[in-house]
Amino acid sequence: MKNLILTTAALAITAGAALADGHSVVRMGTEGAYPPYNFLDDNGEVAGFERDLGDELCARAELTCEWVTNEWDSIIPNLVSGNYDVIIAGMSITAERDEVIDFTQAYTQPDPSAYVVLAGNESVDLSSAVIAAQTNTIQASFIAGTGATLVEFATPEETVAAVQAGEADAVLADKSFLAPIADGEADLVMLDQQELIGGGVGMGLRESDGELREAFNAAIQSMKDDGTLNALIAEWEVGEQF
């Protein structure tokens, strides 16, 4: 085990050195609207689980990183066109996305998706209800495949507001995103029913950027091995530990 840590650490360092010319600054693209994964703090800076994680990964891979925000809808087109180098935005690893971009290994366990409804509306029939989800998410494609009516919104915030406004019966999103909302808002409750979709969250990179992907893979592995990743997951409450 100790050997493994040493080799991964060594790998991370050499990979980092090899990247020095191609990627002297790695630009990290995130949405900034999906707490606890990523959000803007009171000073307008990117914060959250992925901020802490990304900064640590960059330190381990010896990369200089710069944070930028981008609308969720166009987050993949702007990556492949080179406006930033990494997507670190609570993006679940799916086969569909993997055709367009590459993912590092997952840095969270598959987070079950949960439903939140208005208090008093817990008995709603989810198979025929109107359900809100964010555009281009695993939740949106999941609902599209059921008998329920899907209403899509550009931001996570709007999906919750749609339920509060009565526009949708329920919202389906990652449980770790909905949990603090269901706790904080008196008029919202989380249902017991959960959907196990998605294969964990990873960083998205251009398919042509194999070296950078390996550098981050090694850094994620070293954080998994020494337990720091589990500590971050516990601190930000983003699902199960590794």
Binding site: D21, G22, H23, S24, V25, V26, R27, G32, A33, P35, P36, F39, L40, D41, D42, N43, G44, E45, A47, G48, E66, V68, T69, N70, E71, S74, P77, N78, V80, S81, G82, N83, D85, V100, I101, T155, E157, V160, A161, Q164, P180, I181, D183, G184, E185, R206, E207, S208, D209
Partner: protein, 296 residues
């Protein structure tokens, strides 16, 4: 922490007045206020640029040289026919890639890998625009500049059409007189048509200006954090775990503030445009000009 007031250390214990004083001066709110400046700056630069594009387009469209005329007509009808959203989503990425491709050809002639690798657009590090190593503010200014260029091209096509019509609306007698005085067609254009066309163009141009003001929220599609972006971000429900200033869904209030801003701005524009119109009609062979003569 960025705080103007010393008592902002623990907002949870403040009374309402102080809470709001602290809340409205967070770094995020400062970015919101600054974004009003961004929008005004965009308008201040875009309007004259679009007018220049429009003037060029209109002059080209009425050129006697056929290829130039075709170019002008294609620009006007092409851009006017494409939906704004499509233009703002795809054109900007294409424009950016076009610049990088040119720089790549110039700066990295020895590059042996393809630029298009599957979905990826890969140019050498030196050709990136802006450079990856550039400060984030440089990236923001670059985004702002591409936004201006895109707005100028779109609104330039519309104003080209307006100016094209306005040039043809100048009374024929004026042009015949100019020719009778022995002016060349270039002299006629610059000394007779251009000074007189503005009065015919202004109603159309003022419409465009109003539309341009209201189109500024499209900025966010181009990655510029404008007033709508910040209003949405600030107004959204904030849970106590993620902020010192938790609150419910306040988007209504923020968008109300934007409504007031846009209404006030269009009202001021109307007043200014009315004044310009009055000045331009003075001495013109239009009903407006006649009315002013009678009054005087």
């Amino acid at each position: 922490m960025f705080d103007i007031f010393s008592f902002c250390a623990d907002p949870a214990v403040l009374d309402t007045g102080k809470w709001f004083a602290c809340y409205l001066t967070t770094g995020k709110h400062m970015a919101f206020y600054a974004s009003f400046g961004t929008v005004l700056l965009l308008l201040a630069i875009t309007a004259p640029t679009a007018l220049a594009f429009g003037f060029g387009g209109a002059a080209a469209a009425r050129s006697r040289i056929a290829p130039l005329r075709w170019l002008g007509k294609i620009y006007i009808s092409g851009v006017r026919g494409i939906p704004d959203i499509a233009f703002f989503l795809f054109f900007v990425i294409a424009l950016d890639q076009g610049f990088e491709w040119l720089r790549h050809q110039w700066l990295c002639p020895d590059w042996d890998q393809p630029i298009r690798q599957g979905n990826d657009f890969v140019v050498c590090a030196a050709a990136k625009l802006p450079l990856n190593t550039a400060d984030q503010s440089v990236h923001e200014w670059y985004g702002f500049a591409t936004a201006i260029l895109t707005f100028a091209i779109v609104f330039g096509a519309f104003s080209a059409n307006v100016l094209f019509g306005a040039m043809r609306a100048v009374p024929k007698g004026q042009i015949e007189t100019a020719e009778a005085y022995g002016m060349t067609s270039r002299q006629t254009f610059w000394r007779v048509i251009v000074p007189q066309m503005w009065v015919y163009a202004l109603p159309g141009l003022s419409n465009l200006w109003m539309v341009l003001i209201k189109a500024t929220p499209l900025l966010f599609l181009l990655g510029v954090e404008d007033i709508v972006y910040w209003a949405r971000e600030l107004g959204g429900t904030k849970q106590p775990r993620f902020t010192d200033y938790p609150h419910g869904d306040w988007r209504l209030w923020y968008f109300l503030a934007l409504l007031v801003f846009y209404l006030a701005f269009t009202k001021v524009s109307e007043i200014v445009l009315d004044r310009i119109m009055r000045r331009l009609t003075l001495g013109q062979a239009t009903t407006g000009g006649e009315a002013q003569r009678v009054a005087a």
